[in-house]
Each structure stands twice: as structure tokens, then as C-alpha cells.
């Protein structure tokens, strides 16, 4: 999976939980949850959907690495099979 494909997947997931927002307008370093007003319940659902789609295990301790778009893409790329 390329970085662009992964980013698209993230955008699609975010649109599902925050339909009125525009994830594509996120700057790479902006905090996703605060910027798009996503609560912890929706964010957990978003991660569950990512987990199902990508088959990557995301331990709770790593949630902090997923705060920004940039961080999320880097974290998931490193976890995905090459």
C-alpha cells in the first residue's frame, strides 16, 4: 500500500465518523480529533475500522502516536507488511 492509498483510507474512515467534516483539509501536523471534533467513542470506532481493514494491531499505548495525520500515516506504514 502506498502512502497516498493509506491516506485515502484514513480520510474515508474519518468521513464515516465525522460526515460533516472535510478530512482532506487537515494539515499533516494538526491534531485530528480536536480539529475534526471527534470524541473518544468515534475515534475508537475509527481505529476498529482501520484495524479490520489493514489487519494491524494497534495497542492502546500507541494511541498517542496517532494524534496527527502525519503521525498516523508513519505509524501505520511501519506496521504494514512490506
Amino acid at each position: 500500500m502506498t502512502e497516498a492509498e493509506l491516506q485515502q483510507l484514513i480520510f474515508d474512515g474519518l468521513r464515516k465518523i465525522a460526515p460533516e467534516s472535510d478530512p482532506a483539509s487537515l494539515r499533516p501536523d494538526q491534531k485530528i480529533r480536536e480539529t475534526l471534533d471527534i470524541d473518544s467513542f468515534d475515534f475508537l470506532n475509527f481505529l476498529i475500522a482501520l484495524d479490520e481493514r489493514l489487519r494491524v494491531e494497534i495497542p492502546e499505548a500507541d494511541y498517542g502516536k496517532l494524534n496527527t495525520l502525519d503521525g498516523m500515516v508513519r505509524y501505520l506504514l511501519a506496521k504494514l507488511p512490506k
Binding site: 465525522a18 460526515p19 470524541d39 473518544s40 467513542f41 494491531e57 495497542p59
Partner: protein, 424 residues
């Protein structure tokens, strides 16, 4: 025979539109069964049946907008015989062996006696189907209105008299407020033009805004709030939660909100005075703990549906309840019991940056517990200054029902429960 009426689904509701029936005449119904859908300001609500029986008659057709208290259907009790074919001359069926249980407030009983209303024929709109004063007054509307001569003698405040004269309103046509005195507000109400059924250019969400406005204005008008807050060290609770979640696949993980709800339920078990209602000038402690959980709606507004018997649920069950409730609340698909049964409301604004919440109580409840964000802060413990995750818990409580001492006891035991998360 019981009337199934348009229930009052909140301190703010005046009317609802019947969307559809799930039952027809002759169907047997169980207690808690969803028998109708009603459109309200807070979305479409699945209306549950209060008692078992058989639908004797459907009185309202889908599409009708009807006031709270309007009879929608007649339900024959499980033990009653079907209504006689010729109801005019036929004697009433023999009274059931056991006198029908009347679940009514003392004031409602008193007013019912004065107005000659048969309480066994009413369906309560209060918590748990309780018949309150408004139900009784609705059932006797013709008897409630005093004869005109009497109204003419009603006391009128000078301001009200002047206002009425200015606007050309006949004081005899105005129903006096509490205490039998016509005041400015009563005149203004009479002067206000009748609201059109469909307000022009009303946006979706306007209704919910108005509903919240009505409930919160009532709360601040009638409830003398007092506020307390305390800071809670969440180290132990978060450590426990982290260990629990490490054992689970992501699908089964618990959110901190689960712990908050469980701890509040436990603390209410220890200090029950905050769990219940203030109705008809009376403090009514509820034996059951049904926590209202404030859920913000996308695009504004909120609902606080009840999660039933939280104290008896495991953390996994509470998480499952949240998973069920939050999407339904946001899609506008709640059940009537969820709209009416909450005995105390919990609001967590911790997802945003705020540290504490000073809540407005949802009447007729007598307390609201608020949680802020868990923030790492300097914290002295056992003589050592360290950095701990700290959360501020606040309590807004009704001073008519409890005093600060009770509120302080509650926050203290709440804190203790967070220190022993394994017992939650």
C-alpha cells in the same frame, strides 16, 4: 382497562407526532414492548408499553400531532374480560380480585380526589409511569378551569393589569399563575399569538434547541443549584483500565467513560439521596440507579438517555450499552424509557480540553455529575511531589433535596471508588 397516552418524554415536551403503530387492535402486548413510534424534538422515539394486556382500540392515526396526555390507544389488562359488545347498558366487569395498584404522587392523589378523577384510569407520564399532578389536571381539564365569575375575582398584579389594558386583553380570559394571581407573564402568554403548527423556515435541530431551552430555563428558574468539585487522582483507575485493555482486542476495549459511569453508580449506592427526583415539593429517592449519559449531537444539541441499572452491570456490559446507545441517540432512535427514566445525569466533557463542568440539572432530577479532561498535573502524595493524571469531578445538586454536606460525602466516596478500580 388502561388508556395508553402520549407520554411526556421530557420536562420540555408538549406534543408529539405519531409516526406509526407496531401493533393493531387485538394484539397482545408485553410490558416494555415497543408499540409505537413518535416523532419529537429529540428524534423518533420508540414508545414502550407500560403494562401487559391486549390492544382494545387504536384511537390515533399515524401522522397526527397530539399533545402529551392524549389517549392514543386503550389497552385491556391481561386479566380483564373483553369489553362488552353493548357498552351502554352493560354493567362494568367485576372488579379484579386485587385492587388496581395506583402509582401516583401524594399531591396527584389529593388533586384527583378534589377534581373527582379516577386515578386507575390514568397513565402516568412521570418517572416510572408515576401519575403526577399534571396528569390529573389534564384528565380533568373541564373541571380545572374555574368558572368565569371566579376568574374575574382573581388577584391581578398592577403590572399585569396595565399590560392587559395596553394590549386589550380581557383579564377574565386569563388563567392565573401559581397562587391564583395573574402576573405579567400570564398576560404575555395570553397575548402571544398561537404558534403555527409548522413554523416557517425552521431548520432541523431548531426543535431540539427549543426543547433544551425549555428544560434548562425551567431548571435554572426552579432549582436552587449548589456546586461542589474535587480533584481526583486517576493513576490507579487508568492503570487498571490500561491492563484490562491490554488483554482485549481493540473491539472489546473499554473507554474511560465506562469507569466514570460505574464509579458514579457505586457512589450513588453509598449516598442515595442524590439519586432521584424532586416532584410536587417532595424529594423522592429512587431505589434503582438509571444514569442519564449526556451525548452531544453532531451539529449541535444533546440528549441524555438513561442507561438502566448501571450499578448491576459489569464494565463490559456498560461498554456494550454505550455502543448501543450512542449511535441510536445520534440517529434519533431512542426508546421512551430511555427518555424518562434517568435518576441522575452524568456529563463528560473530557474529550475537549475543559477541566471542569458546572452543570444544569435536568428536572426533575436532583443532581448532575460532571467530569473534565484527565490532565497530568503536579500532585503531592505521601510527601512526594510527582506528576499524576488528575481529573476534576463536579456535582451540581438541588439544594431543595440535599445539602452541601451530602454532596461532599458523594464526591468523597466517588473519589474512593476511583482509587479501588478493581472493585468497580
Amino acid at each position: 382497562m388502561a388508556d395508553f397516552v402520549m407520554p411526556n418524554l421530557g420536562a420540555d415536551m408538549e406534543a408529539g407526532t405519531l409516526v406509526k403503530w407496531h401493533v393493531k387492535s387485538g394484539d397482545a402486548v408485553k410490558r416494555g414492548q415497543v408499540i409505537a413510534e413518535v416523532d419529537t424534538e429529540k428524534g423518533i422515539i420508540d414508545i414502550e408499553c407500560f403494562e401487559p394486556g391486549v390492544i382494545e382500540q387504536i384511537r390515533i392515526e399515524p401522522g397526527a400531532k397530539i399533545p402529551v396526555g392524549t389517549v392514543m390507544a386503550v389497552i385491556r389488562g391481561a386479566e380483564e374480560a373483553p369489553a362488552p359488545a353493548k357498552p351502554v347498558a352493560a354493567p362494568e366487569p367485576a372488579a379484579p380480585t386485587k385492587a388496581p395498584h395506583v402509582h401516583a404522587s401524594p399531591l396527584a392523589k389529593k388533586i384527583a380526589a378534589e377534581l373527582g378523577v379516577d386515578l386507575t384510569k390514568l397513565t402516568g407520564s412521570g418517572p416510572g409511569g408515576l401519575i403526577d399532578r399534571e396528569d390529573v389536571e389534564r384528565a380533568a381539564p373541564t373541571k380545572k378551569a374555574p368558572p368565569p365569575a371566579e376568574t374575574a375575582r382573581a388577584k391581578v398584579s398592577p403590572l399585569a393589569r396595565r399590560l392587559a389594558a395596553e394590549r386589550g386583553i380581557d383579564l377574565a380570559n386569563i388563567t392565573p399563575g401559581p397562587g391564583g394571581i395573574i402576573e405579567q407573564a400570564d398576560v404575555e402568554r395570553a397575548a402571544a399569538p398561537a404558534k403555527p403548527e409548522t413554523a416557517p423556515a425552521s431548520k432541523p435541530g431548531d426543535g431540539m434547541r427549543r426543547a433544551i431551552a425549555a428544560a434548562m430555563a425551567k431548571s435554572n428558574r426552579e432549582i436552587p443549584h449548589y456546586y461542589l468539585q474535587t480533584r481526583i487522582d486517576m493513576s490507579a483507575a487508568l492503570k487498571w483500565l490500561e491492563a484490562e485493555n491490554a488483554k482485549r482486542s481493540i473491539k472489546d476495549r473499554l473507554l474511560p467513560a465506562v469507569l466514570l459511569l460505574k464509579a458514579v453508580a457505586k457512589a450513588l449506592g453509598d449516598v442515595p439521596a442524590l439519586n432521584g427526583f424532586w416532584i410536587d415539593n417532595e424529594h423522592r429517592v429512587s431505589p434503582a440507579i438509571h444514569l442519564g449519559f449526556a451525548i452531544s449531537m453532531k451539529g449541535g444539541g444533546l440528549v441524555a438517555p438513561a442507561i438502566h441499572d448501571v450499578g448491576e452491570m459489569s464494565c463490559d456490559e456498560i461498554m456494550a450499552a454505550l455502543r448501543d446507545l450512542i449511535p441510536r441517540a445520534r440517529a434519533g432512535r431512542l426508546r421512551s424509557s430511555e427518555m424518562t427514566d434517568a435518576t441522575l445525569t452524568v456529563t463528560s466533557l473530557g474529550d475537549l480540553g475543559v477541566e471542569s463542568v458546572f452543570g444544569v440539572i435536568y428536572p426533575p432530577q436532583v443532581g448532575l455529575v460532571g467530569f473534565g479532561k484527565i490532565i497530568e498535573q503536579p500532585w503531592a502524595k505521601d510527601g512526594v511531589l510527582g506528576v499524576h493524571p488528575i481529573m476534576t469531578a463536579s456535582l451540581a445538586a438541588d439544594h431543595r433535596a440535599t445539602d452541601g454536606h451530602t454532596g461532599a460525602q458523594f464526591l468523597d466516596v466517588l473519589n474512593q471508588h476511583f482509587q479501588t478500580p478493581e472493585t468497580l
